[in-house]
Symmetry: C2
Subunit: 393 residues, 2 copies
């Protein structure tokens, strides 16, 4: 088991090295606002624990050359992103660089036992490839609300069999390291904040459009999870009064009108009505249609596919306009698989938000696609666990 | 000019005395988690500055009796709440007890010069009544977005003449004390948090239904103002697709369908159509109809008035349901003048939120009326300014 920092100064130094990479003692002291002697004491202690390693001499700033330090290059973290239909597992070093990343299709409804067997097998493969001997911590994202302090999914609508399953405890035992669990969309938001388009932004929304739709809410640099861990559950906000019936029992929910699942259903309907030769040929080839097929058809110029994406973007934009009025964020990031829908989607969302929200809230509001794609979740996961292990025990 | 605390410990002690009232040194040391010697040093310094006063001997806890201290009983703060159609001004001591409170009808559209003349005259009356000699700080709420750090209203839609007016600077000069300015709804939220129904709740929404509709958003105990100070501007969220035209240029905004102004308009329309004898007789008596008339008619059992309130509550509930899904608060408080509409309104809002938001977000979510009525704003205002003056300069 990795040692933990002994105090807040050490925790701060570890996070500076995680986020900024190797650094000279002198610059680190400036950034942490620590005196030379205090810095020396804390860095020496971190070297003793093995969390930090010496890294040669720094370039001269005039005067005596400072020694470089970095996080121990042998530290390894595991990031796991369990989606509705696939599992991503990645290994990173302590600077959160991805050293290896595997993806495997898997239905979350197979339940926690089957899913974690898969996760452990993937982690084993990454070890066998020489990327890690053991893990110093693991972060896990699941596609539903999480009681965060305990790391337990609660009432996850698309995850039968997961309600109350002690994910954190079980995986911590299996992996032999500290584990933290969060909602997958929260982790994607943290990933984009750490290494993507939301770097240095402290108040933003991350909207994931995948099988369903969810939102990560970041306030003052921290994920806002809400009192029961369900903040950002925007898929069931009413987008169309008396609209389509939704699995939740209401009508007109955003997810019932736009999501990977709704898009696939609308595409099938369009083929049945003979409205798209492009989608029909894809259905014949693949035997089924998904959001990705609609994206490909749209890229090929299919008017029906483009229309579906535009309409979905408009619905999403209607809901987002309300959230932008309410929350007044500095940035809105659109991510998830459906980002393959690209700029048609983005244009429809932007049009709606800029039209409906007050000018004061949108005057300087970028609405952009995420930068990290499928790695956003795993990077957020290792960010979460390193936030945890790089704080005093 | 009042002295300011010299360090974070002193600031903490001042806030403990503000929020908990007079206390013994011993208990104060426990609450602040300060050693006996450290506490003695800091309290003695606060006594020297005049911020704190001795208050006799405490009851014995066994052993030597501890001395009581309290905030200097001569400290005076001014709370000002500028609404769309009236001005509230109150004087409090440093424990934020209201010593005197005046209300004056005034149209905010008369502009800042006329409004502040009125405010200063009301403050003068409170002084003349012997409630204060001078003020140690003043908090001001205005009915529009505020660039908080500078204390300047920005693009306030219902406040022509106020855009960019240096409220903080001007009032600070006139009153000769530190001044802080915020949106009026944010201050009402802080008021209910300090002394009302949201005491000890750290994540909640305060919805003000007055001439317009606005929302105070409290996250982790702090007001969330958004990147341009417009967070909580929910009056222009779309409640009815292609609904009534709104002053903002869009259609179907919540405010266009429900607010004090919309209610007055709907009541007039009902009278014109001969649908309410009760409202007709009130119109004849008063020459005009307001939200208060609708409340009174509803209280007298008028079916049309009750219907208007119920419909307004449903519209408000539809918008709130989305915000509850998104934000997952621990409490929703309904306040403002229209709380005279009482339980009919509350029942309609609750029905809609509990029906439309996910059970995980509403399972344990109280939706209640505010407790402080028209004093919420002025108490929030003095809370804001004491937060400011009770922190190190």
């Amino acid at each position: 088991m990795t040692e933990r920092p002994a105090n807040a100064h050490q925790a701060q130094l570890l996070r500076l090295l995680r986020d900024g990479g190797p650094n000279s003692r002198a610059r680190l002291g400036d950034q942490a606002d620590l005196s030379r002697s205090k810095l020396a004491v804390e860095v020496d202690r971190l070297l003793e624990t093995g969390l930090v390693a010496a890294d040669g001499l720094a370039a001269s700033r005039g005067g005596r050359r400072s020694h470089n330090v970095r996080l121990n290059p042998r530290l390894r973290f595991l990031g796991v992103d369990i989606g509705a239909t696939s599992v991503d597992v990645a290994v990173t070093n302590a600077e959160l660089d991805v050293l290896g990343h595997l993806n495997h299709p898997m239905d979350v409804r197979e339940g926690p036992v089957a899913v974690f067997e898969q996760v452990l097998s993937m982690a084993g493969k990454l070890k066998a490839a020489g990327l890690a001997e053991e893990f110093d911590g693991a972060g896990i994202g699941v596609p539903g609300p999480v009681r965060f302090p305990e790391g337990v999914p609660v009432s996850p609508p698309i995850m039968p069999g997961w309600d109350g399953f002690p994910v954190r405890e079980v995986l911590s035992q299996e992996l032999g390291c500290p584990v933290m669990v969060d909602n997958d969309v929260n982790l994607m938001a943290m990933g984009e904040q750490h290494a993507g388009v939301a770097r240095s932004v402290s108040d933003f929304l991350f909207v994931k459009i995948g099988t369903g739709i969810g939102c990560g809410v970041v306030v003052g640099g921290e994920v806002h999870r809400g009192v029961t861990g369900s903040a950002g559950d925007i898929g069931h906000i009413q987008a169309v009064p008396d609209g389509r019936p939704c699995a939740c029992g209401n009508r007109g929910c955003l997810e019932a009108h736009f999501s990977g699942a709704a898009l696939a259903r609308d595409a099938l309907e369009a083929v049945e009505r003979g409205r798209s030769a492009e989608l029909a040929s894809r259905l014949e080839t693949n035997g089924t249609l998904t959001g990705a097929d609609v994206a490909a058809a749209a890229a090929a110029g299919d008017a029906t596919a483009l229309g579906l994406i535009r309409e979905g973007g408009t619905r999403t934009g209607q809901v987002l306009a309300g959230l932008v009025s309410f929350f007044n964020p500095g940035l809105v990031v659109i991510g998830g698989e459906v980002t393959g829908l690209g700029h048609t989607l983005l244009a429809a969302i932007r049009t709606q938000v800029y039209r409906q929200s007050p000018p004061l809230a949108t005057g300087n509001l970028p609405i952009v696609l995420g930068e990290l794609g499928p790695t956003a979740g795993v990077i957020g996961a290792v960010r979460l666990i390193t936030d945890h292990v790089f704080q005093p025990a």
